[in-house]
Homo-oligomer: 380 residues x 4
């Protein structure tokens, strides 16, 4: 019996890539994919050595993505790559994703989806017309307790949402930002490479995506205050955003790269009329549930009180900590189910719609700030 | 040898008063005060029974504050009340404080200092002309680790401040706000009694005061977004404020009374170029100090690594938790030192200046919101 | 109307005393006591200055406890001291407590109650025959969440107790123990002053007392392993004890003074057939309640879900942290109620019975260790 | 270029196996292994379906381990299985491991290594004579912060070890133990299947292994108190052990399966003359470092202050939580390095020596208990 595994190709993710490890392990975690080829690096030495480490047939290793798309699309269906994982710098996401979609490949793309909203919308159109699966890897949405939080809110456990706060605080850019030479030379702060935003595009979108996901509701409009810290730095590295949700409730999105000493502090807190929920990425196995009249409850993965989707990715009994690889593994499994047209649940993986929303958020936040911190509607 | 204790009078704080207990215990904690008289309640029965419980001479119990000020000011200096503690509803702070100042009494006043900035400025003038001590009880500033945080920032331990976030989240108003009858009848949400703000005046000022205190720096301007939740509620119960500090750095102040299930979550986080500090009122004995290259450090009270002012109020060896009564006790001791003209350190107690700043913050935040969320400079 | 406050005298607790502050503040916290006299220090200068700081009439300050007992017992009942607080070194507890009991005074005594079990039993007899109130200040039992834990276990919320663990870890003795001169000269490790135990007597008894209190059940027998660390140190500084409770369940008591860097880590965890409860002194406002099938619950003071005795001492709304002074204040109030023959609840304060049990535990643990770590029954 | 991946076979770990998922993912995490065959289940249907899911050649799937050993050992060296992962019930570990060793296969075996110490020692002899790699998967030793803790102690950062405490608390057995039918029928509590111990063998060995690992020192002797809870239950489900280490210091090992509501609470705390270290499996990314005079330090993975071996398995920047799969992945990588004769560091994976020590601990603890809680020397 031939394997039913999905044949997966990579663009990027070579041995020198941090993010590559995450995707490669996540892909194989549930025996749903086999990696068969790709362009792992623009450096041909790394490209080959990565393929060798993976034990791949070198005939499936390509010099560039155009060649990969062309050759693979002509292979027989039982051996050809079915889905492509795109892990390249942001400005390459659009042309690559477009090419692969046009040639009939499903796409798993790192965030942000593109450099502009226009590009994102174009990809969405193509994806729709081709009827393919397209995932944008907001990895953190794969954690069991994020899924549980989403379900509890959807089930009205906390009542009407009346305040929201989503934050993503990091401190790693200090070394760069306070050194004139470094901040003027890094690609991170170069608009030609990174587009119109640094902090918003890199992590603010995660906070925004998480907010809309768990609330099951769109952000209606925003008022953003961006901080570049130095006049000779053209891009935001610290952001505070006032938000209003579809239902009229208010709150904030905050993201920063200058919270010195903080690591990767994505935190989402939703306050409802009957209760509140709070979750932190750095302690992902704890979900805090507050009510007015009962004691604080701390939910953890692997228990029967959790929703089916939350339990879906929990592989061991309660008390065996899950980490970021498990979160991404859960997303990959959802994508596999979608590709194989199995029944999937809402929220199993972030789609191109979330990618488009993210680009809209970035553009409108930059616009709000440029116009003197005024309210701007999201439109997409 | 006659006691050198400061003779203290109360206005408010009767047996039925929660806040009264806090002030009475704090006053006697370090043997610096003796309570000798006052008007403990407008209810004469409670007024008398409170005095009896305290073991007071009933000749020093008065029917109203005017009488108290008049009679006490004529008593001989070795027996008369020297300082008055004002614990009445907000709109009474101004007339009472004014009367007592005019009659030569030191004043310890609950926050907010007054109902309007104008009143606050008038009190400040009188206080100055009379050369009296005036404390506004921002109780939380008395915690040892707040004092340690303030000192570390002042000593440049975390470098230049580059982002600030101060929050005060409570959830108690839910029962009232979602019930039309209750929200239309409570004095809390009645502008004639409470003034122009509910949430800002009640707890937002604490978050604002804490921010300016620990930073040793003023907030320059603000952009505030207030939420009344219901159209028939005239006052804010949920607030997000964008702030810019004197040094140009940005951040937020957030306060809410609709964070369901949260108790009294005052949290201050300051991010500097070399490190960050974070503190929470509900776990007041832990100060979190983050740096880029070392492990997280958790400072606790009673250790030699703390500043003198931080150690000042720690009465037992490390590991014996201090609570809110200790925080207020520390403030009372600072006020006693000031009254007795002993040498005091900066930050030993919150003065009328902090009270004035708080009123300015409230008025400008309301104005910013009313004008469509625009930037307004603080002026005082 | 004359004050109904209990007239309180001190033996020890002068200005130079850490523990004195705790007792003095706790005594006045609920307006139930007034301090009227005593022997605050064997140093007459400190004795007098303490009295002056308290604003006392110096005629009520004595040179020694015998004089104090004699003179006070002859004063008229409306002015004489009713209860005496004993805060002296351990070996003085017995003669002082005995003298005051014999002269008709109620006694509040620091732990350990005495140096030997025999003394403790003698005090218990006298106390009984005189029908007086006798409290032994196991301060930590006054915390609201300890009281809540006790009530929940008593109400069978966690079912049958099936395992118990109580620990008290400190690290302060390192500086002394590793320095030959210091360890050979400190009174702490001198059997003539401290009796047969250091660590057990100082903190082990707290862990033992807490265990019996919250379980509402006696320890039946113990097997103790004591560590003196150095051959020239005659007393235990580190202890592990196997215990069996009345109901046959097993567990441990551990106490140490060589847990370097730990402050005052008293921790009690009780595991029942239906649930478990855990509490830590350094975070006294959190009670952790585990069950098999529901999420972890975290109980805090001041909520309606708590028992009456737990709520009894909570003076402010939830979220205002209580500390060690509040815990002692609660105990003092319980003692006041007992002295005034008001109705008191079980567990309002630790009595001489708990003091006797503590002495029994110390003696039997030392005996078990000396005999080669064998099981010994407690008897008292 | 042929892949240099190690060819791995499984015995056990079929689709219905929890532990199988952990081993399969861990094996492929670093591209060091490829799974080529095995006996995944004694149920042939599951055996085949597991192989299909893995995409294996069915000619490499066997009916039993004897057949597997025989056939595979005759295959050519470039295709044959090199290492076998044994995930079967405890009593099968010995015959299987023995067979595979005798046929020249490296072995990765779940713990406990065997049912008796005698068996364990026999395996050790064979392993030595055959010069093969043998790992016993004490998974928790693979966490970065356990490795950091071990290195800090080895580097004398906390000075001389003066007290040790290791615990492993679970609560899952309640449902079984309190139901007479269940407890009399489960294989867990059947000595013929499970050997002489339940709790010690299942989790106590982990606590014991962790203690010897991080201390870099052997346990010298033990005094154990076992609890079966019911007379008709022949095996321990709750254990307290007094221990003395090689250097003379004292402490405890505690393990239980009746700590209701606790999940998988493995905790190790080591107290040294200069500092202390504490770690918990359920929050594996935090290492607590206490000293006498500085603030508490909290170390996390991925920072430069960590040791090389600690950093070895950290695949993403700090703040991306690692979980149990990462811990096992680190162990698998260490084994791969040993098999490929690459340079490995001490402590990269638990060897058969640790497996033998574990069996010794179990046997001696049972003996100590049976003889009335006396001290027994470990011998191996």
């Amino acid at each position: 019996m031939p394997s039913n595994k999905i044949k997966l190709g990579f663009v990027g993710g070579g041995n020198d890539s941090l993010i590559g490890v995450l995707h490669k392990v996540a892909a194989v975690m549930f025996d749903r994919y086999e990696i068969v080829g790709g362009v792992f690096s623009s450096n041909s030495k790394i490209n080959i050595s990565t393929a060798n480490n993976l034990g791949l047939d070198l005939s499936r290793v390509y010099n560039n993505y155009e060649e990969m798309a062309e050759v693979e699309s002509k292979l027989e269906s039982n051996i050809k790559i079915e889905a492509v994982c795109i892990l390249t710098p942001n400005f390459l996401h659009f042309p690559m994703a477009k090419t692969f979609l046009m040639n009939g490949f499903h796409v798993i793309c790192e965030k942000p989806l593109s450099v502009t909203l226009k590009e994102a919308l174009e990809l969405k159109e193509i994806k729709k017309s081709k009827n393919l699966v397209f995932a944008v890897t907001h990895t953190y949405t794969g954690y069991p307790m994020v899924r549980q939080m989403t379900k509890m809110i959807s089930d009205n456990v906390i009542g009407n949402i009346q305040r929201v706060d989503s934050t993503y605080f990091q401190g790693w850019i200090n070394d760069i930002i306070h050194d004139k030479d470094k901040r003027n030379s890094t690609w991170r702060l170069n608009p030609e490479v990174s587009g119109i935003s640094s902090c918003l595009a890199d992590i603010g979108t995660h906070a925004f995506n998480m907010l809309e996901l768990v609330c099951g509701m769109k952000v209606k409009n925003i008022l953003a205050d961006l901080n570049n810290l130095y006049d000779d730095n053209p891009l935001d590295i610290d952001v505070s955003v006032l938000v209003r949700m579809e239902n009229g409730c208010k709150g904030t999105i905050r993201s920063t790269q200058i919270a010195t000493g903080l690591e990767n502090n994505l935190n989402i807190s939703i306050y409802g009329s009957k209760g509140s929920l709070s979750w932190e990425q750095e302690n992902p196995n704890y979900l805090y549930y507050y009510t007015a009249d009962k004691s604080l409850q701390v939910l953890k993965p692997g228990h029967f009180y959790n929703s089916k989707l939350s339990l879906d990715g929990t592989k061991l009994p309660a008390g065996h900590p899950e980490g970021i690889f498990d979160a991404m593994g859960n997303i990959y499994r959802g994508v596999a189910r979608a590709i194989r047209k199995e029944k999937i649940k809402k929220g199993e993986f972030p789609t191109i719609d979330e990618g488009v929303r993210g680009m809209d958020f970035i553009e409108k936040a930059v616009e709000s700030n440029k116009k003197g911190n005024i309210w701007i509607d999201l439109e997409s």
